[in-house]
Structures are given as structure tokens and as C-alpha cells.
Symmetry: C2
Subunit: 188 residues, 2 copies
Amino acid sequence: MARAGLTADRLTQAAADLADEVGFENVTVSALARRFGVKDASLYSHIRNAQDLRVRLAVLALAELADRVAEAIAGRSGKDALVAFASAYRRYAHEHPGRYSAMQMALDPDTAADSAAGKHAEMTRALLRGYDLWEPDQTDAVRLLHSTFHGFVSLERSGAFHSHPRGVEASWLRALDALDSLLRAWPA
Amino acid sequence: MARAGLTADRLTQAAADLADEVGFENVTVSALARRFGVKDASLYSHIRNAQDLRVRLAVLALAELADRVAEAIAGRSGKDALVAFASAYRRYAHEHPGRYSAMQMALDPDTAADSAAGKHAEMTRALLRGYDLWEPDQTDAVRLLHSTFHGFVSLERSGAFHSHPRGVEASWLRALDALDSLLRAWPA
DNA sequence: TAGGCTTACCTAGAGGTCCTAGGCAAATCA
DNA sequence: TGATTTGCCTAGGACCTCTAGGTAAGCCTA
């Protein structure tokens, strides 16, 4: 009876890959067990249940994205940083659709606090240092930026923009221009 | 053997109510059958499968929201229309969380074309008549507005804004102010 | 109003996912 | 080397999805 060497971390990683391949909604305990050549029941020594697995996946994705964004904005400021942040965000969503979907899960407050979710807001704040914004405008701007990035990527992936010939890439660049000029002249 | 009077439309309506009560992901054929006091198998004369049910629900929600928005912006223009549109959108999401989740499903192009999805873009265009925008800026602006509304509501519902004391309502109003001034001075 | 047709709902059953309880063997440690 | 821990197993229950085939309710026509 050879052992597969399962751990919660290896399962979460594999679940993330599975999510990117077959979609987050198709990440099941059974499918994951199949991938390791192991019975379903064997996974329950490592994860509490299916929901726990999905939460771990969401936390993994949040951390990965935070790393990417941190690297992207390092040493940049102003519009440069804005574009780098936004591009890293969007690229991650495109390269890892399953992980990105996982990130949208509503996490309970404790889990969210332990996750990299806070780091996202913190980095957006760092980004805003290139603009002249102070509380509470800063928080409002963080929320607006995050909303726009997430909204755009989410609608793009759901096909909402396919009905019109205008290139999505062009609209994306224009949105970034618009956000930049908005931040530079934040209405009082 | 009394009949329950099932039709695809009545099932879809009930599924929408069920979604708002227990969450879109918990809308199952079994739960719906239970609600009508009928066996699971009986639903399959009216809907093709579970996915078909969810798509019908999404189409219903899109149509309902389109109606609400149309009513909200009727007779308004400029910022007035912008705020009315956005508020109707956000209120619908809050009052009907299950229906709103359903709307986010990726619809295949044919279904999307038959649905009210096009009406949404059309109404956003109508809204922009109060501002001085022409193609392709208009399409870019439609996409930006939709992204921001959807992103904000979606993040708000997933709890992403709860980590900070700043009131969500205040940030929302500021976002609308920002979008208004952005549209008035759309960068060339 | 009786016959036939259509259709709404049924039972039976196969296959999949989630999860618990309890068992045995592999790895680790004394 | 023997004892303990840990990893994966089998067995099995509960629920969801969906198909095939049957029966009875309601409608149409004569």
C-alpha cells in the first residue's frame, strides 16, 4: 500500500491547478482524489471538507496575486505604478482563471484577516502615494480602483464585452488613462 | 394524482426566489422540486437540465434589472441619470442577491444576444447622451461604468470592504461623483 | 358524453459527489 | 525491534442529476 504523500498544501496547489484547467466550480473532492490516484475519503485527513478546500484555494490565490502585484509596482510610482498594478492584476486573472474565480469567494472575517487580502489594500495605498490623496479620499480611491479592476476583468471573462467590435484591450488602456486623470484631479 | 401546474416560467420564477433565499449555488433541481411538492424527475419535462434552469434564471434576472434601470433613468440626464442608474443597479443586487449572482454566469453568445444583456449597454449609452462622448469613447465609457458598478457591488457583497471603518455608502457616493466628473472631462 | 390524444407527473434505477466510521499497514520513534 | 502515529483503505449513508418507461388527468373531436 504505497503512500501518495498528501498534505493540505499539496492538495491546495493541485486544486488550484485543477481550477485553472476545469473551472473553479468543478473543483471537487472526488476530482482531486482522482488526480492523486487515491480514494475520496483519503483527503478528509488533510482537509475538513469541500468548502475548506475551496477556502484554502482562495487564500492561496490571494497570496500569489499579492506577490505578483508587489513585484509589479516595486520602484514605480504615479501612472507607471497604476498601469503596472492593473496589468499584473489582469494578467493573473487571465493566466489563472480558476484561481481568480476562487478569490471572489466571500471569506469569513477571520480567514480574510489572516489572508493576503489586507496586503492588496495596502499595496493600492502605496500606489496612491504618487497622487495627492489623503483619508478618507484614499480609502474611497482604493475601493474605486479595486472595483474597476475587478469589474472589468470579471465582465471581460464573462463575455459581456464580446458583443461590440471595439477592442477590449483599447478600452482597458482608456480606462487606465481615465483612472489616472481621475486620481490626479480627485473631485473635492 | 393532482397536478402542480408546472411550466418552465413558473419554475424559473421559483428558482429565482429560491436563489435569493438560499444563494444561487444552492439552486438545485431537487430543492426546486421539493418546493413544488413534486419529484425531481418531473421537472425534466420543463427544463433540459440543471444548467438550463440556471441559464433561464440568469436571463430572467437580466430582464428584471433592465426594466428597473430603464424606469430609473427615464426622464433624467447627466449626473441625475448616472446616479439613478447606479442606484437601481446596486439596489437590485442587494434586494436580490441570488438573482444578481445568476446574472454573472457566462452565457453563450446566442443566449446572451436573446437576453436583455444588450439592453443594458443600450441604456448606458442613453445615459451618456448627457455627456459629450462619441465613439469609440462612448463604448469605452460604457465598459468603464459597467465595470465599476459591477466591481463595487460584487466586492461589497463579498465583504472586501468590511475590513475598513470608512462607510461603504460614502465611498459609493464618492465613486459616483468621481465617475461624473470623469465623464464630463473624458481625457482625449 | 364517450373515445382518443397529449401531456403532466409518477416509479425505478444508475451514476456521481460529499462525508463518517472504523480498519490495516507504512513510517517513525523509543 | 516493538510501540505509536499517521496515511490511506473499505464500507456505507445521504443527497443530487438525469434517463426510461408507465399511468392518469385534462383537452379535443365526434
